[in-house]
């Protein structure tokens, strides 16, 4: 089918579009020349940046006044669609706000939604999205059978962002209609957890620890090694669930997707949940006691050994340099 128009759910941090937004805009303009960004917030400040990646229009709700974005932006999108502008495809990032918004909108439009996608194509079966399952070993392509708009959420880093050199996008107001009871949740305070060193999903080197460390105190070794390599420390879900480190450290299906030059997995067995988040790394070093651990199946260098023996020696050797 010819794709007449595509919307991208756009997000900002500190007033700048997120890299995820630019990734989706880049893909969107390969599908259609008619790309609009839809933002829960002020549009004027980012119309230039979004236009530079291919958006010709920015629908903006204006300040959400502390409402959680999902329910509010979905209602604003529905209002624009009811007003006559129906896109063929709406692209969302697979993150907190993206998931909330696409979920609410799917009910409002009575349309199915495909999530965790890494690609979208306009092929013989119509619009189809590809999703990795079983830790990325199998790729499933699913096509939409109903009518547009088609709703798809994409995993981070599915596309490489490229500037289009386009001019500023036209800003169109898309106010949030009355939400009734559904809009009852209100943000009362925002907490930013300070992270020193490079950000986990942007770092060139990532050092992650897992249950093989044995106890919470041993995570200090991961932090030390990360500091020596100018790396970001990461963690498996197991030790995040156990409360050793905050959720922001988590690499995997339910955490961050990382694609660094070097990924060091220390005491991580390589559960599907974890592998999905790090398999795209260029080089993988794994240290694990169990030589049957799945992580060795993807490692470029695998050390069968105790992390509590190998890491202290490695840290000493690096300090001595």
């Amino acid at each position: 089918m010819a794709i007449n128009s595509v919307w991208v759910f756009a997000q900002t941090t500190n007033g700048v579009p997120t890299s995820g937004t630019l990734e989706l805009l880049t893909k969107a303009r390969s599908l259609s020349s008619n790309v609009a960004a839809f933002i829960g917030g002020d549009g004027a400040a980012v119309a230039g940046a979004l236009g530079g990646y291919g958006a010709t229009k920015v629908y903006a709700t204006g300040d959400l006044g502390g409402k959680l974005p999902g329910v509010a932006v979905a209602a604003a999108m529905k209002a624009v669609i009811d007003g006559g502008d129906t896109p063929d495809v709406i692209m969302f990032p697979q993150n907190y706000e993206g998931r909330d918004t696409v979920s609410r909108l799917s009910v409002k439009l009575d349309r199915t939604v495909l999530t965790n996608s890494i690609d979208i194509e306009d092929g013989g079966d119509g619009i189809a999205a590809t999703t990795p399952i079983f830790g990325g070993n199998t790729l499933v392509t699913t096509s939409f059978t109903g009518s547009a708009p088609y709703l798809v959420a994409f995993r981070p880093k599915s596309f490489a962002p490229e500037s289009s050199g386009g001019g500023a996008a036209e800003v169109v107001a898309a106010p949030v209609p009355d939400l009734g009871a559904a809009g009852g949740a209100q943000v009362t305070a925002v907490h930013v957890e300070e992270v020193s060193g490079p950000k986990l999903d942007e770092a060139d080197v990532v050092v992650s620890g897992g249950r093989g460390l044995g106890e919470q105190a041993k995570f200090a070794m991961i932090e030390d090694l990360a500091k020596l390599l100018k790396a970001a420390p990461g963690a498996s879900r197991a030790i995040v669930d156990a409360g050793w480190v905050p959720y922001s450290y988590q690499v995997g299906q339910t955490g961050k997707v990382v694609k660094p030059s070097v990924y060091i997995a220390a005491g991580i067995s390589g559960a599907t949940q974890h592998m999905v988040g790090m398999k795209g790394s260029k080089n993988i070093i794994a240290i694990n006691k169990d030589k049957e651990a799945p992580i060795f199946g993807v490692a470029d260098l695998g050390i069968v050994g105790d992390v509590n023996v190998v890491l202290p020696k490695l840290i000493e050797a690096l300090k001595a340099r």
Binding site: G70, N116, N137, V140, T188, A189, S248, I303, D306, V310
Partner: protein, 258 residues
Amino acid sequence: MNVIVCVKQIPDPAVPGALDGGTNTLKRDGKIVIDDSDMYGVEMALQLVDAAGGGEVSLVSMAPNNETSGLRTALAMGAVKAVLVSDPALQGSDALTTAKVLAGAVQRLGGADLIIAATESSDGYTGTVPEQIAEVLGLPSVTFAKKISIDGSTIKAERQTEAGYDEVTCPMPAVISVTAGVVEPRYPSFKGIMAAKSKPVDEVTAGDLGINPVGWAGAGQKISKVAEAEARQAGEIIEDDGEAFSKIVGFLENLKVI
């Protein structure tokens, strides 16, 4: 205070997953267990009801083949009853249909002050169902909650964000999705396991809830291709002889990381 927890019964994750060759749906013919992610919701519900000094925890679940083994685990933990929507026609249902079915089951129980779900299931991980249930029921929601307390008729929650967390307030009734690790799930006691065997599980079909079409017919999507991803080749694997750290140093040197 009454709480309903959405529980998914999934194939034992200890067994590698496989797709049914005919339908391309996840095979469910082995052992079926409660999704680990849902244990946190059940525990949270039990603690909130306890703190409120009264009320009960009920369960809703959807499964194609009348499976109850996972529900029994949650009943053994302390939930008092369950609605199981089971229908061969449910096979192949998408997340939206699942949400409509679970919302129907919630209504069959007469609603609740709070509906709790995990942020996503461990087998399908579409991750949209809690928020879709909220929208179907016209309720407010707080997703990705890592801490919850109740103050009168208001929920106070800490909600995960990219940068940290937000403090959120929300009036009840509401839908909350909770992250893994939000509480430490209890182990069912022997007494609990015995009692769970006689707790009521109300088995209904999608039709009983007035929901049609379900399954493939209602999915709005079809699987058009299944392919193996390009496999990553394993590299050099060595046993640590006490000097393996130097291998890592050499590897990092080659990559100019150090």
